[in-house]
Amino acid sequence: MTFIDRLKQLLGGPHAPESHSEEDDRDSGVCKPITCMEAMAKVHEYLDGELDGVPSEEVAHHFSICQGCYPHLKLEERFRGLLQRSQQDEACPEHVKEQVLELLAAEASEPR
């Protein structure tokens, strides 16, 4: 590898670029390869199901073959799981529900 190639590789991102190459991606014939930086920049939109301009398959393919980026996707997923877990079974207290119903009944009975 030349110095210039190595420099380009370093500027492309800090994740184990040896884990796959663009040549491998092209050979697979499945998806257009995207770089580590592109995949990382799109990780939120990918997990939110809100990708704009990049097919979901391309991002998924990158994470599936890149050992450097994959842990970042997993951590992002675990983080979201933690947020979801933090509010499980959080229901409105019964006395508040009753108060709301009483308020609405009083409001409905008022002449307009």
């Binding site: 991102g13 800090p14 994740h15 930086m37 990382m40 920049a41 939120h44 939109e45 939110d48 809100e50 842990p71 970042h72 997993k74 951590l75 992002e76 675990r78 983080f79 979201r80 799981g81 933690l82 947020l83 979801q84 877990r85 933090s86 509010q87 959080e90 229901a91 409105c92 207290p93 508040v96 529900k97 108060q99 709301v100 308020l103 609405l104 409001e107 409905a108 002449p111 307009r112």
Partner: protein, 199 residues
């Protein structure tokens, strides 16, 4: 003169469409305010206001988002009235405004010590809620609506009256701030080894 039976129809529609979202509105109010007492008041005020303006609601549209919008407006007005000037300034000063890197620096550190993210399992729910509460309001609202309630970018944009790009930016920044705070907490508790000094 009131149209005969209109009030009953309105009440029946409201009961069917709006009331099932009471749990969701309570959760939203709780995350937004960080206080059960405030959340209980917000739920009551939200449903009362929603009932009074039910004729402005288009049946079959996103009722939950509509209720969240009312709830947030009530919360912001109450906060504005109760908040001292120095608190408002303090929140503005604490906000991050610089650009974020595509690669999350928190995950770069975490990957070295715990690539599976098992440290998340040790973080108790109260700490998560505390750190959500500490986010600036616009980041907090975006994170709650997207990550906890599953609303789309477009729905959040309409609710908060900002472009979709702003929603994305708030989500990105809000998540990063929250991730950093939770990681620091996990390090301080010994749930994950600090790898900051490792190269």
């Amino acid at each position: 003169m009131t149209e005969p039976g209109k009030g009953k129809i309105q009440t029946a529609d409201f009961n069917e469409e709006a009331l099932p979202h009471m749990d969701a509105v309570f959760r939203f109010a709780l995350r937004l305010s960080g206080s059960r007492d405030v959340a209980e008041d917000l739920v009551q005020e939200t449903f009362l206001r929603a009932f009074r303006s039910w004729d402005k609601y288009t049946p079959g549209t996103q009722c939950k988002s509509w209720l969240f919008t009312i709830c947030r407006n009530v919360f912001l007005r109450q906060r504005e009235r109760g908040q001292r000037h120095d608190e408002i300034v303090s929140e503005n000063v604490d906000r991050s405004s610089g650009p974020f890197e595509a690669v999350n620096p928190v995950w770069v550190k975490a990957v070295k010590a715990d690539p599976e993210g098992e440290f998340f399992d040790a973080i108790v729910d109260e700490k998560v809620l505390q750190h959500i509460q500490e986010l600036p309001e616009d980041y907090r609202t975006a994170v709650i609506l997207s990550d906890l309630e599953g609303l789309s970018y477009q729905e959040i944009a309409e609710m908060t009256d900002v472009p979709v790009g702003t929603v994305k930016s708030r989500l990105f920044r809000g998540r990063r701030v929250l991730q950093s705070a939770l990681y620091d907490y996990a390090v301080s508790m010994g749930y994950i080894k600090d790898t900051s000094d490792e190269t």
